[in-house]
Amino acid sequence: MKQALYTIKSNRALTRDMYEMILEGDTSDMTAPGQFVNLRLDGFFLRRPISVCNQEGDTFTILYKVIGHGTEKMAQMKAGEVIDILTGLGNGYDTAKSGDAPLLVGGGAGVPPMYLLARRLIAEGKKVTVILGFNKAEEIFYREEFEAIGVKVLIATADGSVGVKGFVTDALADAGAYTYTYACGPEPMLKALYNATDVSGQYSFEERMGCGFGACMGCSCKTKYGNKRICRDGPVLTKEEIIW
């Protein structure tokens, strides 16, 4: 973990409420895809934990959904502004387990970490398929970005306006054979995927956090391997250890 100041390079809306912020600074503690950062915003007591969508050199990208006062404030921030951020938080995904043809599954605000994960897997020579789940066409983001790095992209929308009508699990049949799964999204999505496939995998969880670095025990969960802190021992759990 590192605490440092990061400069906003760009901050733009991708959809009505999903934003992309690119930041520059010391990324040396970011060691794995699926990790998160914790942003301190003026006027708010707790930091905002947000997953890392991309990282290259000394810049990284976060995608965030505007849902409360904190993210509303973030959406108004401009290039050149500086934010105090804790980086390199959480365990992240282990790409060594992926096999040759991993399947990535991201739902809504769970899509962002799949991008850096896909980039790393592609760099390792893996054949990557991603299922992206959204409610409707207007909420789709990053489809082109995934396609541009050579990922096979399947879209599921709840209203059927794009791709398969239904949830991410309804697109599983189109994914072909896959060796492993990586998932991030709302808990009902993760649970549906868990039940829909026998293939092993790693699932990223979300929880309200106090500190984000393992001190306060605010985000504890029970697993088959004992109590874990989502922020520090997670957010990624293996499929085998999850207790629903």
Binding site: C219, S220, N227
Partner: protein, 302 residues
């Protein structure tokens, strides 16, 4: 310039102590900085049996603070003595405050007897904001009689200084502090969190699964200062001040109210370097306010 303070014969290099529950057993922070800059450290509240604590969500944000309902998650006193304490002592060589909780008098005694025998543990800090399972769940800290009962039982079973950590969720904290002093307490830690609640406007239900939780952070600082001021006038034993401390100025203010040392809680969760920053900033603040020796300002506002 002297930052040393003494709690019942235990001299600390400075009065800054991370508060129980915001610092784990120290390791997360030891990875970030040399925690030996701290005066002491109050470790995570420890109970007789291992506890997972409350369901999540356990955390809710507030203006200038936060609510937590962790529910005393800890591995139990035996695991703390066997595993956590040796690990802590390998990186931390200053006096340690053992924070213990309990759900009966017997559990308090059990949880104090064990760390009482451990080298490195200098003070036993007894959290009496726990429900008494033998008395309809009423908190021990809610009445002078039960607070005194815990104090007497723990004092009879231990040798190290016993500090009773008081709940602010009472009508008259002074009477409870006096009852603890009369029952033999060596000191008072105050205040624990204030009971609070936030409601999610979308779900229209409390944010925290436990519904209520402990409100801490900057917002409670004036409440803590006021209560310390009142208790200082009523007791002779030292007070460890707790509640919303986040700067060297806050340390000085709380000591002027009557605290001999000060614990820093929620601030650690927002700025993991908060305690270190306060320690490093203390000499500057002391110089600014013309203070040569911190001990000389204890209770100075009276």
């Amino acid at each position: 310039m002297n930052t040393k303070v003494t709690l019942t014969g235990v001299t600390l290099d400075n009065p800054v102590i991370p508060a129980s529950g915001t610092f784990g057993y120290g390791y997360e922070y030891a990875e970030l900085y040399d925690i030996n800059v701290l005066g002491s450290l109050s470790f995570k509240g420890t109970t007789k049996d291992p506890r997972f604590g409350n369901p999540t969500p356990r955390i809710a944000e507030c203006p200038a603070g936060m609510i937590n309902a962790v529910g005393l998650q800890n591995p139990g006193v035996d695991a703390v003595i066997a595993e956590e304490l040796p690990r802590l002592r390998s990186v931390f060589h200053k006096p340690i405050i053992a924070n213990v909780g309990g759900f009966s008098i017997e559990e308090y005694v059990h949880c104090c007897e064990k760390p009482d025998k451990e080298d490195g543990v200098a003070i036993l800090e007894v959290n009496i904001s726990c429900p008494n399972v033998h008395s309809g769940g009423r908190n021990f800290g809610n009445a002078p009689e039960t607070a005194a009962e815990v104090t007497r039982a723990v004092k009879a079973a231990t040798k190290k200084p016993v500090y009773i950590k008081l709940s602010p969720n009472v009508t008259d904290i002074v009477s409870i502090a006096k009852a603890c002093e009369e029952a033999g307490a060596d000191g008072i830690s105050m205040i624990n969190t204030l009971l609070g609640m936030r409601i999610d406007l979308r779900r229209k239900k409390p944010i925290i699964a436990n519904k209520m939780g402990g409100f801490s952070g900057d917002a409670i600082f004036p409440v803590a200062v006021r209560m310390i001021y009142q208790v200082y006038e009523a007791v002779k034993i030292p007070i460890i001040g707790i509640g919303g401390v986040s700067s060297a100025e806050d340390v000085i203010e709380m000591m002027l109210a009557g605290a001999t040392a000060v614990q820093v809680g929620a601030a650690n969760l927002v700025n993991p370097f908060a305690c270190r920053d306060i320690v490093l900033d203390l000499p500057r603040a002391m110089e600014k306010y013309g203070i040569d020796d911190l001990t000389s300002i204890i209770g100075g506002a009276h």
